[in-house]
Each structure stands twice: as structure tokens, then as C-alpha cells.
């Protein structure tokens, strides 16, 4: 049976997700993903007419339940130091990021 997600596509997905995966775990994940893909193919058979819109939320947001837009005012986050304290590496109040490699986009 044709696999929906062959190894090559799976490797690309793992790259996009920034995941280093041991071989055995990768094979388990690929098998489960293929089963999940088969289970969603039923969506292709739903009769959907041109009138049917896309629901970003099930619940409609109208004047009845939506807050007014808030004022566009900047303010300092009160948790600044507590947030910085969580960083694995800090230098003079900045979070240290390792070298960023450069690659040409295809």
C-alpha cells in the first residue's frame, strides 16, 4: 500500500519541526502519522457546497460577545526580571543565543 508520508518527506518534516529523532522513534512516529493521514481522508468525502464558509472559531464573535479594541498604549511588562531569570544564558540583561549559521534559501 502506498505510504502517505514516505521517509524522505518525513525527514523534511522533522527538519521543519527542529526535531532530532532516534531511528526507532522516527519509524514509530512515521507509522502513526501514516495511520492518522488515512483516518482524515474521510474529510474528502464530505459534501461541502460553495455557500459553506470556513469557521476559524465554532462560536461566532459579534458585538454581542466581543470586547471593543483596547487602547494602543505601550507599557513595560512587570515580569521582566522574572522572565530573564528563566533564561539558560544571560549577558548584561540580554539572552545569549548560540551562533546562527547562514544558509542560502533554495
Amino acid at each position: 500500500m502506498e505510504e502517505r508520508i514516505p521517509r524522505e518527506d518525513f525527514q523534511r518534516l522533522a527538519e521543519l519541526a527542529s526535531l532530532e529523532l532516534p531511528e526507532e522513534e522516527a519509524e514509530y512516529l512515521r507509522k502513526e502519522l501514516n495511520n492518522q493521514m488515512i483516518s482524515i481522508e474521510v474529510l474528502e468525502s464530505i459534501p461541502i457546497d460553495a455557500e459553506t464558509g470556513s469557521a476559524a472559531h465554532g462560536l461566532p464573535y459579534t458585538d454581542f460577545n466581543s470586547p471593543s479594541p483596547r487602547e494602543d498604549i505601550t507599557s513595560l511588562d512587570p515580569h521582566r526580571q522574572a522572565i530573564l531569570d528563566q533564561a539558560p544564558e544571560l549577558e548584561e540583561g540580554y539572552i545569549v543565543v548560540p551562533d546562527i549559521s547562514h544558509q542560502e534559501l533554495e
Binding site: 527542529s18 474521510v42 464530505i46
Partner: protein
């Protein structure tokens, strides 16, 4: 009866009338935790192995005793000063470890957040504390809430069902349901993205309320599916669910999707009579359509007849009280609930999980790395368990332009159709004019630990009867309706139109009163019954 087994409303009343102190209540519930919970979940710890491990509940990832003592002391001080501490004065509660609590480790059940201490508290936690409740600690869950059995947590041992410790607790708010069922807190805060409050409530014999999307703020909730997530309470009775919802509901300026609709008096709504209410039954909710991994086909089968009969019996009791039961209500898109959920929830989950990178906070690999991408890959490969990895990979596959087959757009349209199904049956000028739909909460009772975990598709189909509610954004309330032959709890749920929580509480409360003297109501989890013997 011990204090820890009393309802929240009774505990608050006893404290406010100075018959007992908040510290005394806390002492009793901490003693219960020591008696039944066993070792708390820890990241990378061994799973349950010893006889003691296998016969205890493991609901907690951490008991915050010092924090709780400080809160209980403040409540007692207010009482001494003649100040009313609030409607939940001194009521012990737990929070699913997906809510941030200032200064407390907030892990989402994941290694990648195992060292994260939240700098702020979730709105629901702040509101519980403003109402006088006392937080006992954080309870276990499926990693990042991804699952229906709480087995995917990185924190081992995973929770075990108080009614039979060889069974799962359901999920993903499994620690919440187990804790409430075992008297380890009168209330627990959970979240429901595809059924994660109602499903474990059903498996553990508790009440679980998923509010209308936006009724309760999501601020401070570590996100899964942002268009689906709903915080809500799990309790041992309907009145406590109404009290807890009253405390946490309402607009929050820090969550732009929280609704501006006024919050009614749920206790008053709950006590109204149900005579004349129209309650529907739909055959679509008495069968399951699931993907069979052996034949690779969708298979349809009726749900367990014991569950069907328990729900029909509940409908009979409601009819005795004057409700009109409307049968054969059509909800034709129910069977697409899980496939639609597979798509929408994975796309939203993958977007939410990309922020965890080992740079700003949380776990970072101890291996060497040459540059930033390698740091990301190693940290995320080690820090996430299989469920988050699966959801990210699936979400990226479904949303990346190079693989796009239009499933996401199709799922958004399927969600619109599921919503239309509910709009049709709840339309006050339509053919059905229902106030609520009564259905089983889950297609099965609690299954044995290890029997489904690992089959990610079959596990997802456990949410078949709950996920549609989240797609539509409507509220749902699960409550116990009896036991099966193995003495495992059966849950039913009532679903209603937007912001109809008051009506749902009214129906469930009426059922609770009319079945008060039924023999099954007196049953206790064996672990608790043994303590009382």
C-alpha cells in the same frame, strides 16, 4: 464523613460559620493525599512497579503544602477579623499542571518545561484565590494535554483510576478527575480542547464542566489548540461546579477571545425546575465510527449497551420531572468530529509548540552543539515526548505549502457544518427547539492502563462524543449516571447553546436530586471505602 470528602459548598459554610478552620480542612486533605496518592509524578522517574505504586493514584506532580498553608492561614485570619473571605472560603482545590501559578513550577507534564517557574498566575487561578480557595498543588495530565488517558505525561508514575487502579483515569485532565474522585481537593481546574474535562470526569465518576468558548479566560493557560481550549472545573457534585464556574467565569482584558456577555447567577439558575425543557437524544451519539488500524478502514459500531441504557435511564428520570424528551435528533456531521479535530488541533498545536527552543526558558540539551539549529533539534528531540512530536509533525505536514492537500481548509468548513448541526437543533424557532442534547460522554468506561496507549488514532477516537462540542464552541457538562458491570463509572453529558451553562447545571442538578437515593449513589472508590472501614 471526613472533611476532605465534603462538598466545597459545605466546607466553605463550615469555615465561614467558624465550625472548622481552613487550616484544619487543609490538614485533613493533606492526610488523605498521604494515604492514597503514593509518590508524585517526576520527570524521567520509573513508571509504577511496586505493589504500593500499583495501588495508589499518583494524581499529583507536586503538592505545594507551604503555599497552601500560607493561603489557609490568610483565610482564617480574615475570618477572625470578621471579613468574608469569599464563596470558596478555605476550599481546597488543585490545578492541572497546564495553568501557570506565580512562583510554582509549571510543566505541562513535559520535560521541556520541567524547570520552568511561571512569573505570573493564570486568570482562573487568581480568581479561585480571590474567591477564597486554597491551592493544594499541581496535578498530572497528558503531556501538553495531548491524549485521552493521561499516560503520555513525562511525569511518572502516571495517574491511576481510584475506582480500579489498573485502569486509566481518562484525559487529558486525568490527575484532576482522579484527585477529585479520591477526596484530594473538592475542586480541580482542568482544560477541555476535545473533551479533556468531560472524558476523565466520566472515567472517574465526577462532574466536569466545559464552558462555552470564551466564557472563561485562557490567560495563563499553556496553549494547545487556541481556537478550542476551554478551562473549567471538575467537582464531585453539580452545586460545586456552579460555584466554581461562578468564581472563574467572565471577561478578562488579557484574553481578547473572552466574552463580554454578563455572567448569570449559576446557583439561582441551577435551582429552577426543568418542567417543559426540551432535551434531545441523537442516535449519532450512540455509535462510534473509528479507524481500524488492521483493516485500514473506518468501522462503525454501537457503543456499549450498558452505557446506552444508563443514558436512556437518565432521560427517563428527566422525563419524570416534566422534561420533554425528543428522540431521533439528527446531527449528521458528528462522525467527522475526530478527523476534523485531527487537522485543526494539530495545526494549532504545532504553531504553539514552536516557541519551546531551549533559548529563552525551559529545558536545554546538555549535549554539545555547534550552532542554533542544532541546539533547537537536540533540545526539542530530548525535551518533547512522542505525543507532542506527533502533533507537531502532523500539524506541519497539514499546513506546509509543499505538502498541502487542502485538508486544513476542508476541516475549517467541516467545523462550520458541525456548528450548523447544533444551530439547527437549538434554534428556538426551528423544528427541534432543544434546550439541551443528552448523550454518553465517552464510548467506553475506563480501559486498562497500556491497552490503547501507543495507538494514537484509536486513542483519539475516545473523544468522538466530546470533540464536536469544542468545534462548535458550545458548553457541555458531564455527570455520573451509574456504573457498569465492572463497577466502573459511566458518564453522560448535556450539551446546550452558547452561554447556556445555567440550563445545563439545572438539568444535571435535577437528575442529581431525583437519583439521590439510588443505591449506586452511595458507592465510593474502593481505596476510600477501605480507609473508612
Amino acid at each position: 464523613m471526613r472533611t476532605c470528602d465534603l462538598p466545597a459548598y459545605t466546607i466553605a459554610d463550615l469555615i465561614k460559620t467558624k465550625q472548622i478552620s481552613a487550616v484544619e480542612v487543609l490538614d485533613d486533605v493533606l492526610e488523605r493525599i498521604r494515604q492514597v496518592d503514593g509518590r508524585p509524578g517526576e520527570v524521567d522517574a520509573s513508571p509504577a512497579e511496586t505493589e504500593e505504586d500499583l495501588s495508589t493514584i499518583h494524581a499529583f506532580t507536586q503538592v505545594t503544602e507551604e503555599y497552601a498553608r500560607e493561603q489557609a492561614g490568610k483565610i482564617d485570619q480574615l475570618i477572625r477579623e470578621g471579613v468574608n473571605p469569599g464563596p470558596l472560603a478555605g476550599v481546597p482545590y488543585t490545578a492541572k499542571d497546564i495553568f501557570t501559578v506565580k512562583g510554582i513550577r509549571s510543566t505541562a507534564g513535559s520535560k521541556i518545561l520541567s524547570n520552568y517557574f511561571a512569573p505570573y498566575s493564570a486568570t482562573v487561578v487568581e480568581r479561585m484565590e480571590e474567591a477564597g480557595a486554597v491551592m493544594l498543588g499541581k496535578v498530572n495530565l497528558d503531556e501538553f494535554t495531548y491524549g485521552s488517558s493521561s499516560e503520555s505525561s513525562a511525569y511518572k508514575p502516571v495517574p491511576r483510576n481510584p475506582w480500579d487502579t489498573s485502569r486509566v483515569v481518562g484525559g487529558s485532565s486525568g490527575g484532576s478527575a482522579a484527585a477529585v474522585a479520591a477526596g484530594e481537593g473538592a475542586i480541580s481546574l482542568g482544560t477541555d480542547t476535545g473533551g479533556s474535562i468531560r472524558h476523565p470526569a466520566s472515567f472517574c465518576g465526577t462532574v466536569g464542566l466545559k464552558p462555552t468558548y470564551g466564557r472563561v479566560s485562557r490567560y495563563g493557560l499553556i496553549a494547545f489548540g487556541s481556537s478550542l481550549d476551554c478551562p473549567g472545573p471538575l467537582t464531585r457534585n453539580i452545586t460545586d461546579a456552579a460555584l466554581a464556574l461562578q468564581a472563574i467565569a467572565g471577561q478578562d482584558p488579557r484574553d481578547a477571545t473572552s466574552a463580554t456577555v454578563p455572567v448569570p447567577d449559576y446557583l439561582a439558575e441551577m435551582e429552577k425546575e426543568i418542567r417543559g425543557m426540551r432535551i434531545g437524544l441523537s442516535e449519532e451519539y450512540f455509535r462510534v465510527t473509528y479507524f481500524d488500524a488492521d483493516s485500514l478502514e473506518l468501522v462503525e459500531s454501537p457503543i456499549d449497551d450498558q452505557i446506552r441504557q444508563a443514558v436512556l435511564s437518565a432521560a427517563g428520570f428527566l422525563a419524570q420531572l416534566g422534561a420533554d424528551i425528543v428522540t431521533d435528533v439528527p446531527l449528521p456531521h458528528t462522525k467527522y468530529g475526530v478527523p476534523t479535530y485531527f487537522v485543526i488541533s494539530r495545526v494549532e498545536a504545532s504553531s504553539n509548540l514552536l516557541r519551546f527552543d531551549g533559548v529563552k526558558y525551559g529545558y536545554r540539551t546538555e549535549e554539545s552543539f555547534k550552532d542554533l539549529p542544532e541546539l533547537y533539534r537536540k533540545t526539542r528531540g530530548e525535551g518533547f515526548g512522542v505525543e507532542p512530536k506527533l502533533r507537531m509533525l502532523m500539524g506541519i505536514y497539514l499546513s506546509a505549502a509543499q505538502f498541502d492537500k487542502g485538508y486544513y481548509q476542508r476541516a475549517l468548513k467541516a467545523r462550520a457544518l458541525i456548528r450548523q448541526d447544533f444551530d439547527t437543533i437549538f434554534d428556538p424557532r426551528g423544528k427541534y427547539r432543544l434546550d439541551a442534547l443528552l448523550t454518553p460522554t465517552a464510548p467506553s468506561t475506563a480501559f486498562p492502563i497500556g491497552s490503547v496507549y501507543g495507538d494514537s488514532v484509536l486513542m483519539q477516537y475516545s473523544d468522538q462524543l466530546t470533540a464536536t462540542t469544542n468545534h462548535a464552541g458550545i458548553p457541555g457538562l458531564s455527570f455520573p449516571v451509574g456504573f457498569d458491570r465492572d463497577n466502573l463509572p459511566i458518564g453522560a453529558q448535556v450539551l446546550g447553546p452558547d452561554y447556556s451553562e445555567g440550563s445545563l447545571l439545572r438539568i444535571a442538578r435535577a437528575y442529581e436530586i431525583v437519583t439521590e437515593k439510588e443505591a449506586w449513589r452511595g458507592q465510593k472508590p474502593p481505596l476510600i471505602a477501605d480507609l473508612d472501614a
